[in-house]
């Protein structure tokens, strides 16, 4: 039997526009899946009633306009949504209801979509396994007790389990691409400045970027197109025309030069990752792309630099959660005590760890040695990319050094957890676009993805290359619904 919820975004939109089925039918199908999937714990807030109402209203419309006409979309709970609780996965915002709508979600609604719910994520997007969420672990639909990755873990699981046609996430160091890789889905982090950060709960301002999470590359192009755009309310957003990514999407990649960076062949990398990478190279070679060996010499400094810059910014960004204005407040006998109690009680351990690291690296006497040094390293990493992009059009790497791991496996070993982002972090430091596309499975039958890194604002090229890989790999998400 054909289930509407198996359809891609592109198919759903055209089906609704052709009146093959209604928005209400689509919405109900995803709600029904969601109702049966509580075990995965992907939702922090369900908006099923409102979504059904929106779908009904949509169906009554005379003409079905917009790139996302009639599509219900669940979004990561980092996007502020008007009159809908927005928690960032944290106790400190467990009761926070914004009076405003983030620019990115607003862009989706302007294209005819509506909100299905708010998805679980690591607290303030700090984590690679969704284990830091105040609202509990998210389960990877591939297997029980398996993490979906993070921080956009709820988004990735919801997508893989067909609980939302597409979703959006945010990516500060790999938070879209790593969970996409862990769940056999497509996750794209756009160029820094492509999507507005206005209304997204900030983690690290110079790294955060929202992006599409979809079941296939075609949907990624469509959703990216819908969510992107210049926003005068975000000074770091860039006023560059949004491409018609979908109509320009092609798997003809002949002549494109693909860089293979030697520094991404890390020690102790599972051989299956290496094999997967070679497979990707072959796919592109077969499609007529030119493979070039390149060097990004400062890659090994990316992770340490990231874990200075990101916590530094976070320590300052999270200072506003003080119990004075909104969100959680604990009692105290004076202002200082109220602060201490509120923040001790409101933040989880990983967030506290990063606030401490960030505060430390910005402190007088340490600033030059840590923060300033990290910024210099960041510039060198960016220079590395600038240089190789004179010779190549895109770079192919693995998305992650391993497949999804078990809940609890790395929880007490932050460094091993951080190492998960080793291939994704340099991209954020350089502000580049990158996409993770599913290619194969490891020996445990867990999905693995490859990452394509593009030039600034050249999302089109990595989308095209991903499409070529997608076609050759013919990846199928092998999920039997075990959790019902």
């Amino acid at each position: 039997m054909v289930n509407i919820s198996d359809f891609s975004l592109a198919k759903l939109v055209s089906g609704i526009k052709r009146k093959d089925f209604t928005s209400e039918e689509v919405t109900k199908s995803f709600i029904s899946n969601s109702e049966k999937s509580k075990k995965l714990n992907v939702y922090i807030t369900e908006c099923f009633e409102e979504a059904t109402k929106s779908a009904k209203n949509f169906d009554k419309k005379k003409d079905y306009k917009g790139l996302l006409a009639g599509i219900p979309i669940a979004v990561k709970d980092l996007f502020c949504t008007k009159n809908i609780k927005t928690t960032a996965g944290s106790k400190i915002l467990h009761n926070f209801v914004p009076t405003y709508e983030s620019t990115v979600t607003n862009n989706l609604w302007s294209e005819g979509a509506f909100l299905l719910g708010k998805l679980n994520c690591d607290e303030f997007a700090m984590g690679s396994s969704n284990e830091t969420s105040f609202f509990g672990n998210v389960i990877n639909p591939f297997k029980d007790k398996l993490v979906p990755g993070g921080s956009s873990g709820g988004s990735a699981s919801a997508l893989a389990a067909n609980l939302s046609p597409v979703t959006i996430g945010t990516d500060t160091g790999g938070s879209i691409r790593q969970p996409a890789s862990f769940t056999g889905t497509v996750g794209l982090k756009p160029t820094y400045g492509r999507c507005s950060r206005w209304g997204i709960v900030a983690f690290a301002s110079s790294l955060d970027q929202a992006g599409p999470m979809t079941k296939n590359v075609e949907d990624s192009a469509l959703l990216l197109q819908a969510m992107s755009g210049y926003d005068p309310k975000d000074s770091t957003s860039v006023d560059i025309k949004v491409e018609n990514y979908s109509s320009k999407l092609t798997d003809r990649v002949k002549g494109l030069r693909i860089g293979i960076p030697k520094e991404y062949r890390v020690d102790n990398m599972p051989s299956e990752i290496d094999k997967l990478w070679k497979k990707g190279v072959d796919y592109l070679k077969d499609a007529g792309a030119i493979i070039k060996n390149i060097s990004l010499p400062h890659t090994k400094y990316a992770l340490p630099a990231y874990y200075i810059v990101a916590p530094a910014e976070a320590s300052s960004n999270l200072a506003r959660y003080d119990g004075v204005k909104y969100g959680h407040r604990s009692k105290g006998n004076n202002l200082l005590e109220m602060y201490e109690n509120t923040r001790s009680d409101g933040f989880g351990n990983e967030v506290k760890r990063r606030i401490l690291i960030g505060t430390y690296v910005l402190s007088s006497g340490y600033y030059d040695a840590y923060y300033l040094k990290a910024q210099k390293v960041r510039q060198l990493i960016k220079n590395d990319f600038d240089k190789v992009f004179n010779d190549v059009d895109a770079i192919l790497t693995p998305s992650t050094p391993s497949a999804a791991f078990k809940i609890g496996e790395k929880k007490d070993d932050p460094v091993s957890m951080y190492l998960n982002d080793i291939f994704t972090v340099p991209v954020n430091l350089a502000g580049l676009p990158a996409i993770s596309v599913p290619v194969g499975y490891d020996k445990n039958n867990l999905p693995l993805g490859l990452q394509l890194i593009g030039k600034p604002f050249d999302e089109q090229t990595i989308l095209n290359l991903s499409l070529a890989i997608e076609k050759s790999a013919n990846f199928k998400r092998k999920i039997n619904v075990w959790w019902n």
């Binding site: 502020c80 927005t86 960032a88 915002l93 926070f96 914004p98 009076t99 405003y100 983030s102 950060r197 206005w198 209304g199 997204i200 709960v201 900030a202 690290a204 301002s205 110079s206 005068p232 309310k233 975000d234 000074s235 770091t236 530094a312 910014e313 320590s315 300052s316 999270l318 200072a319 506003r320 003080d322 004075v324 204005k325 909104y326 202002l335 602060y339 505060t359 910005l362 402190s363 007088s364 600033y367 923060y371």
Partner: protein
């Protein structure tokens, strides 16, 4: 004016000490909206009615630079003859306080928008150049109100995010008088530029004072203390003096000065320690990642420079040259833009010398007495000019003019109307005057005889009598001439 010599020193038990002062002035930028949000900045609004989601630091809110505030700071920099930094950076100054919603203040730390400049002070002992170290832009915090409720502190965020210019002087000031002149001159420049209204009562202009002392002749600076948030020039001057004396006493007793922040107690006229250097906040400054570095175009700076109004120093030079004023007079007339505007309006049609005397003399006396600013003057420049014209045209005497001026203060009355209504026009008809004079002389035959026999002092008496009869309206010059002839 005789040139005085600088003589502000603290005389200790053992030595004579020089006082070194540097000022950090916080001047609120005159702008309709805040530095990074579109909220209005009007003073005195109901609490928390001028607050946006950005000002109250809601999740996901981002600052956007208000271009107008940037231009205001550049204009101020140009007015201080300072270097404009085309590339500057907004940094975050991190600290927790209830009225600081973001948990950090957006400020400029290493790369301010304006670099070194100067202010010229006119002191009784000559002009003195005071260096400006820098000017940077920053956000104001909100206001904590502790006395509205016994158990709670209330916070008003209307001020949160309002643009401030922090103007840091070099340690070039040497006395409370120089501090007074410096602040007034700085205020005047900003008011000329319309970049800050300089209203100290409303907190648009606040200052922190750095004070240290050193023995006369010593080249090195001593350890300084910062005195925070003094809201009047008078208190600032008192605070400096008592702080300098405290430091001298410590040093002369071989004690050390701790570099610290101190508070001035206006009631006891003492300063006390607020926090020591060890307790000083670590503000963890770093570039605000929500804002791109501020890059100004030279063309914008050039444009603003071209549009700059005439500033007090230039105006003073011009007044001396064009209107033949003394430096003293010019200084007074350019001290405030409104005074110079008044003066220039007045002299459009009347005698400059007389206008200067009337403004500096009679008008200022009235303003002082009634505690009014020149813009609230009860006599408009136009009417004062009309009055002076009547004097020079011989229509009224100087003495009558004083009376008319008195009456003009009632609702800015037109002097012509007063003169007409009260029939105060000067009698300059020689025939009429001759009649009065003859009358006076015939009534005082005895005195005429005395006069003619050599008691020439009586001439004044005759004039007085004529004036009395004419109710002060007789043209004194004509009376003089006619009398001389009649008494020959």
């Amino acid at each position: 004016m005789t040139e005085k010599k600088f003589d502000y020193y603290i005389q200790g038990e053992k030595d004579k000490w020089e006082v070194i002062i540097g000022l950090e002035v916080h001047a609120q930028v005159l702008s309709k909206s805040k530095l990074f949000s579109s909220s209005p900045t009007k003073f005195g609004a109901e609490p928390n009615t001028q607050v946006s989601l950005v000002d109250s630091a809601f999740p996901g809110m981002l600052p956007v630079i208000n271009q107008f505030c940037i231009e205001q700071s550049v204009k101020t920099g140009l007015g201080l003859k300072a270097k404009i930094n085309l590339n500057s950076v907004f940094d975050r100054k991190n600290y927790f306080y209830a009225d600081l919603p973001q948990g950090y203040q957006i400020s400029q730390y290493k790369n301010p928008v304006v670099g070194e400049g100067e202010i010229i002070l006119d002191m009784p002992y000559g002009t003195k150049k005071i260096g400006i170290e820098r000017l940077h832009l920053e956000q104001d915090a909100g206001k904590s109100i502790h006395d509205m409720d016994p158990d709670n502190t209330f916070v008003d965020l209307n001020r949160s995010g309002v643009a401030l210019m922090e103007i840091v002087s070099k340690p070039d000031l040497r006395s409370p008088d120089e501090v007074n002149t410096y602040i007034k001159k700085l205020r005047s420049i900003m008011r000329y530029l319309e970049t800050c209204d300089g209203n100290m009562q409303e907190g648009s202009l606040r200052a922190d004072v750095n004070v240290s002392v050193r023995k006369v002749g010593e080249k090195r600076f001593g350890t300084r203390c910062e005195i925070k948030n003094i809201n009047s020039i008078k208190f600032m001057q008192m605070a400096i003096e008592c702080e300098a004396k405290r430091q001298v006493e410590l040093l002369e007793n071989n004690k050390q000065i701790d570099q610290e922040t101190r508070l001035y107690d206006t009631k006891k006229n003492t300063t006390r320690s607020m926090r020591s250097k060890e307790d000083a906040h670590d503000y963890r400054y770093f570039p605000d990642p929500d804002l791109l570095p501020l890059n100004l175009k030279q063309s914008l700076v050039d444009k603003l420079k071209k549009e700059l109004p005439e500033l007090p120093d230039e105006k003073k030079e011009r007044f001396i040259k064009e209107h033949n004023l003394s430096a003293y007079e010019a200084n007074i007339l350019v001290a405030e833009k409104e005074i110079s505007d008044y003066y220039e309006e007045a002299i459009k049609e009347c005698d400059k010398k007389l206008a200067t005397n009337w403004i500096i003399g009679d008008l200022f006396a009235v303003l002082n007495k009634k505690n009014l600013s020149i813009s609230q003057s009860p006599v408009s420049a136009k009417n004062l000019s009309a009055l002076i014209k009547m004097i020079t045209a011989g229509k009224i005497s100087g003495k009558i003019a004083k009376d008319v001026f008195e009456k003009m203060q009632d609702d800015n009355k037109d002097p012509q109307q007063i003169v007409d209504k009260e029939n105060l026009i000067q009698q300059s008809d020689p025939k009429e005057l001759e009649k009065i004079i003859s009358e006076v002389l015939s009534k005082n035959q005895d005195k005429v005889t005395q006069y003619k026999s050599g008691k020439t002092k009586l001439f004044g008496y005759f004039i007085g009598e004529v004036m009395k009869v004419s109710k002060g309206k007789a043209n004194p010059q004509l009376v003089n001439e006619i009398l001389k002839i009649k008494l020959k």
